[in-house]
Symmetry: C2
Subunit: 331 residues, 2 copies
């Protein structure tokens, strides 16, 4: 009888994203369908908690972004915060609000992308809340775990530490610009992959934490120029960046005409979900040039002096200005 | 330097809702200001996870509901799910999206109500996400704890169990109708209290769980006629309700003219956040008539036959029809 209301029917479809009752259930005693989910904590571990908005118009455009990518990315973004602490995801809750006309094929495609992310990132759905709204609203809470005492915070950077990043910066923003300029997009276009299907650096984050390589860490979601000041403020330090070292993307010639500068993209482009971390001088030699195929690059040094400066390509030095993504900034 | 961007300034104001660094911090190693929050689980306990939307237009009206009440209620609603498992809240995450023009006094009043709920319900803010949107969007995740093996699920009701509720049903919906009919409201109006400032039944839920009194439990958020079928479906049972036993509200005479029926309010009114629970016949005598001043009332019996029926006041018997709140129902 309870199955016949529209809300119950929607919950039934979403529940299919969760683990099968017979599968290994990661210690989840209870998934969707009760007032709340129950989880048995792993002894010797701390619990990591993080939540992330994915909102139509703010974070994605319904007529541009494939529903499948929205499903993947909403989970991947939140899992990236767990990776940035050096932890592993354990399960997630999803709050979903939908317009009434989107409960058909759009929802199926969205749930397909979400299910794929849930499996590949080993993060099963544990519960959530659904309601109706004129816009698509998604909020994801990820629960993760990290060995007690091993979490890497933003506040651990010390003067003299080497500042490093994974991957190449600006790739996701370049993809966004390409997406905006096209009428029809293919979700398999390799230039869009980093923007549509970002991969949180779970294994790298865990390796840096377990081996006590990183002294401070965060993920790059709003752009280096906006996120780096947050790490420095938390650690009460400054930094000196070397522009020539920052791993940028090559901009295809057809983009060149529109004056896109790869360094600006790397400094101010959001959504990369690469890791920004610091390494003490004594451990610098333990850092490999790549980790599972992802380049690791030293881009500067942490300073006692709390200024944030950058040595530009032409040899002049200037203060770093936060110019990444800020939803409250007047545009 | 990081403090100067508008988003960082907003985070600074919200952070004031969290526990002071010097206060007892409930095992939270880290609150707002890092990628994620860290929590040390309590040995011998399971973790409870729940999340709840509070959306402008869907759950509240910005021109009718005091911002202070929106702050209180968004947290109280989610804590109610933890109470319904027999657990206690431990901390919460808040995702908040605001129009740019609401970051002044509206936000201060909202955070005031939220802070009061956080203190009275012993549930400190651990983290969250903020962004901009044309409507006020709130998502609350509450993390709770319950002694291992003591959580009360929806699925534990057995034929012959007594069906019980706390409090009186329909009071919040009556308050909503009063709120809708008035141009200026006072947030201190006692008739509006249950609608504006609901109190999750944490102590009662915990008592019912710790003493193994309740066999199944849930909170009433969408109305008895919609929520009861969910409990019965989870337990694979039916129920026989007695309309004469349902604790209803007295409708003031000025409402009477508009044909409001107190039984319909009790069956279909949402937002009461009372507990609906079942008790095995052998434990029925252990149930007091009131718990900390809140009446506890037997309203029917659980049946093996999976139908949901009700004995009406005039002596006829009929099927119970789900007519509570369903955001996806065509209205």
């Amino acid at each position: 009888m309870a199955r016949n209301t529209p809300e119950n029917e929607l919950i039934r479809r979403i529940r299919a994203v969760g683990p099968k009752p017979t599968s290994r259930n990661f210690g989840m005693r209870l998934g969707i369908g009760d007032d709340a989910a129950l989880l048995t904590p792993r002894p010797g571990y701390e619990t990591i908690l993080t939540c992330d908005w994915s909102l139509e118009e703010t974070h994605f455009l319904r007529d541009k972004h494939p529903a499948d990518s929205i499903g993947w990315k909403c989970l991947a973004r939140a899992v990236s915060d767990v990776a940035a602490m050096g932890g592993e995801p354990r399960c997630f809750l999803m709050s979903l609000a939908l317009p009434r006309d989107l409960t058909g094929s759009w929802l199926s495609e969205f749930l397909g992308g979400l299910r794929r992310a849930s499996r590949e990132l080993h993060c099963p759905l544990a519960g959530g809340d659904t309601t109706r709204h004129s816009k698509v609203l998604i909020n994801i809470t990820v629960v993760g775990e990290v060995r007690a005492g091993r979490a890497v915070l933003r506040s651990g950077a010390r003067p003299g530490d080497m500042l490093c990043v994974s991957g190449r910066l600006g790739e996701a923003d370049l993809g966004l610009q390409r997406l905006r300029s096209q009428n029809r997009i293919s979700k398999n276009d390799p230039a869009l992959k980093k923007h549509l299907y970002p991969e949180p650096r779970i294994a790298l984050g865990r390796w840096l934490a377990d081996n006590r390589i990183a002294t401070a860490m965060m993920d790059l979601s709003d752009g280096l120029s906006t996120d780096l000041p947050r790490l420095c403020a938390a650690s009460k330090v400054g930094t000196h960046l070397n522009a020539a070292s920052i791993p940028t993307v090559r901009i295809p010639s057809r983009h060149g005409a529109r004056n896109i500068d790869s360094l600006s993209l790397a400094l101010n482009g959001g959504d990369d979900y690469e890791l920004l971390f610091t390494v003490s001088p004594g451990k610098a030699r333990r850092l490999p040039p790549t980790f599972q195929g992802v380049p690791l690059t030293a881009i500067g040094e942490i300073t006692r002096d709390r200024h944030l400066t950058m040595l530009h390509l032409d040899g002049h030095e200037a203060n770093l200005r936060p110019a990444g993504w800020d939803p409250f900034k007047k545009q």
